[in-house]
Assembly symmetry: C2
Homo-oligomer: 142 residues x 2
């Protein structure tokens, strides 16, 4: 259990979001990199990109920032097979299509009104916290 430091007024003048995330320069930088190009970069990709703005940032910090952004649900972590994790700022529920020809990962929207239970034979009493849909294939030009 964690004793939260008492703050009477709601963080006056502090750069925290509603959930108490402190938006440091590094977290800001990492988050901006993710928003800038929505191409699902790896931690190392993010590291290389964020160095432009923050030349002294470390890879460990990039991992820390990504972790905290994921925990606070500003970003989603995407895992394909056993490849390095990728990160995605798209907060709508969506899946991913990995084009194995180009290597590009595309967001895939759910059709409106579709319920998981319409599609899958869920164990009775299952409370789903997280859904992950990953597709692999190719884009044929035809």
């Amino acid at each position: 259990m964690q004793a939260k430091p008492s703050s009477k007024s709601v963080n006056p003048g502090s750069a925290e979001d509603a959930s108490g995330l402190r938006m440091t320069r590094q977290r800001q930088g990492v988050y901006r990199v993710l928003l800038a190009e929505r191409d699902h970069p790896t931690a190392n990709d993010v590291f290389m990109r964020v160095k432009d703005k923050l030349p002294h940032i470390s890879l460990a910090t990039v991992y820390n920032c990504l972790e905290v952004l994921v925990e606070h649900r500003l970003v989603r972590q995407v895992n394909f097979e056993r490849e390095p994790s990728r990160y995605c700022p798209n907060l709508e529920e969506h899946g991913h299509f990995h084009d194995q020809h180009t290597g590009v990962i595309h967001d895939v929207k759910f059709k409106p009104g579709v319920q998981l239970g319409d599609v899958l034979d869920l164990p009775s009493g299952a409370v789903i916290e997280d859904v992950e849909i990953n597709l692999r294939g190719q884009l044929s030009l035809a």
Copy 2:
């Protein structure tokens, strides 16, 4: 390119399946372990179980066997987050539900007649080779 050794008759007396997989003692043992308990064991789980029958088998061999069984589609590899890979002998198309309370992974069937394209807004021209659906949550007794 691989020159296949010429065999006039179709492998008389050899223990190969149709696709040319040689069913060695080790591969047999690994495969049997997977069929015996359909609980999605890790490579290391398989290693520990198969040792009963093959005390000299190595972990590297278990990995090799699993890889070749996956390539030959006798077994599926299941990845949750960044946890160790798990292996599943259920060849029907299905998803997985990870009960985070018990740690058990349940197979989840697709409802009959459901097409991926009914549910997802696939990129046009996408040819899907592989579908992976992973759910995380809990089973409430209610």
